[in-house]
Amino acid sequence: MALETLQIEHVPSDHHVYAALFRHVQNVDFLQAQLIGKNPEFEYAFIDASVLISRTHLFAAIFRALNTLTEGTLQTPNVHSDIVIGLSPTNNISESYRRYGLTPSKTRDVLVIKIVYPKLSCENSTISSSEQQQTPESIWQHLTAHIQGTPTPLTDEELAKSTDWAKVRKYYKLNGVPGVERIDKVDEAGRRREMEGLVVSGIALRGL
């Protein structure tokens, strides 16, 4: 069990995406405190796994954030926080953090994303030099040292286990949508596929 390197289509080759899923995380408050304290060592995207449907759902948000990064139009301080708000179909940033990021004493399963990419030298030089040295091994060490949870393979099956559909339906406004309702209730897989399509569309269309 280690850090997974995500291969996302049409992402520049010098941008590396690493991900890991931790179950039953005990120290969510600590992790969130690091984010609020803007601790540069904790520049990760922490996502509440219960709002994720599948890997495709996750990829859509990461892709969107990477796209804004390469375009130079990030909406938040860094690409990692942009991944978290990238999950949202709405433009409300603080609401997005609350819904898709960590919530102390509520979040149990945490998905961690780390993006490593060559930063321009004009940015803060001390950070950029330490960033450059980050390897999957060093990231993994840092994560396992600070996250008290059970590392779990990041598969569609594992993600589906912890999906809170009531939340997903609410956040992505999927309650009573004709496109989903017209599918037979018996065909749960078909309904979920349709909802996944709508969730991905919602992510893609934010801001239009």
């Binding site: 291969q7 996302i8 289509e9 049409h10 992402v11 520049p12 080759s13 890997r55 495709t56 990829f59 859509a60 892709f63 969107r64 796209n67 375009e71 949508v177 004709p178 496109g179 989903v180 309702e181 017209r182 037979d184 018996v186 065909d187 897989a189 078909g190 399509g197 709508l198 991905v200 569309s201 919602g202 893609a204 269309l205 239009l208």
Partner: protein, 368 residues
């Protein structure tokens, strides 16, 4: 004419002129008739629009003597693209630079599927290597002012994306949007498996007896599946119109027939309908027309609730249908019938309006 006379123009600037459509056609032909290519470029260079545009158009047209009308050109490009995508890609790769998004690595290289008047369509994969997608790219137009160009491209793509999402939510079968960057001019949507309805209908018609007497005999029992298909198309269009969207370019090329997925409940219905047909051969034939009708290409779509616009949509389809499938023209009424049934009261008034539109053509302003 905004250009001074006697100044040689860059070929791309030509597109501002009235010759636009025809000239592009000549350019497209380049890919297939390489021998004519130099010739065209030469005549481009000597093009003096202020002096005699007509003359040059003729010249350009001359370079491709068997110029089919616009509709057929699209078909030709389609067929070739379907037959040998690799060859097309080879030729066109050099012709058009890829959009930036497609220059980033992917598991399989993008394939140029077709080229329209405003943009190009690539097949590629999105998110993961096992998710095929259609990426529509609207390149910047050199003949427009850059600021205006950026705004138009962005607005049109954004609109298309919104319409697609809206239809999807309402349960109209359209591709899902995977990602978009309207500012950069691209939108990635779900890849619909299967073939355009046009191809399927022609394939089906092609298998039927050519002899007229035999045809009449076969009609009664064999047209069943085609009638069914027409009904499904009618229902799909009614669904689209009900969400307050008019397509703007309805043709049988802009609808896909997606083969039924194995596990869906739809399949049962589909095969039940076929059982009545009889012989094995007929069943196989009928399978050709199985599947969901998925409407694609919302590049010209508009939001409208008016009967006029909806009727125009149907009229455009009717005309396109009659010219692409003359042998099945008489089946169009089934489409309208099912449209009316699905749409209810409003459908009746749309069909009523359709009568008017038929009388005068699709442009209302042409009456006076």
């Amino acid at each position: 004419m905004p250009f001074p006379a006697n100044v040689p123009l860059h070929p791309s600037q030509l597109q501002t002129t009235e010759a636009n459509g025809k000239q592009k056609f000549a350019k497209i032909n380049n890919h297939h008739h390489n021998s004519t290519r130099n010739h065209i470029t030469d005549s481009d260079r000597t093009f003096k629009p202020a002096q005699n545009p007509e003359n040059t158009i003729t010249k350009l047209m001359d370079t491709s003597p068997q110029s089919p009308p616009t509709k057929k050109r699209k078909m030709a490009t389609d067929t070739i693209a379907a037959a040998a995508p690799a060859a097309i890609e080879d030729q066109q790769e050099h012709q058009f630079p890829l959009p930036t998004i497609l220059t980033h690595p992917s598991a399989t290289p993008p394939i140029l599927i077709t080229q329209g008047a405003e943009g190009r369509l690539y097949k590629t994969t999105f998110f993961s290597p096992n998710i095929p997608c259609a990426l529509k790219y609207r390149p910047p137009k050199p003949y427009r002012h850059p600021i205006l160009d950026a705004r138009l491209t962005k607005a049109r793509l954004a609109f298309e994306a919104k319409v697609l999402e809206r239809c999807r939510r309402e349960g109209v079968p359209v591709p899902a949007v995977y990602a978009q960057n309207a500012a950069a001019g691209w939108i990635a949507v779900e890849w619909i498996e299967g073939a355009p309805v046009r191809v399927k209908i022609n394939e089906w018609l092609g298998q039927r007896p050519r002899n007229e007497e035999e045809e009449k005999e076969a009609d009664a029992k064999e047209k069943g599946p085609l009638v069914e298909l027409m009904k499904r198309i009618g229902a799909a269009i009614a669904g689209l119109h009900r969400t307050g969207v008019v397509h703007g370019d309805l043709t049988t090329s802009n609808m896909m027939l997606r083969p039924p997925a194995k596990s869906t409940t739809d399949q049962g219905k589909e095969t039940n309908g076929v059982n009545g047909v009889g012989s094995e051969e007929a069943q196989e034939k009928a399978k050709l027309l199985e599947g969901d009708v998925v409407i694609i290409d919302f590049g010209l779509a508009n939001q409208s609730q008016s009967d006029e616009d909806r009727a125009t949509d149907l009229y455009v389809l009717e005309r396109a249908f009659a010219s692409t499938h003359p042998r099945a023209e008489n089946l169009f009424e089934h489409l309208l019938e099912s449209y009316k049934q699905t749409f209810g009261k409003k459908g009746v008034s749309v069909l009523h309006k359709l009568e008017d539109v038929r009388m005068r053509g699709r442009k209302r302003s042409m009456i006076g």
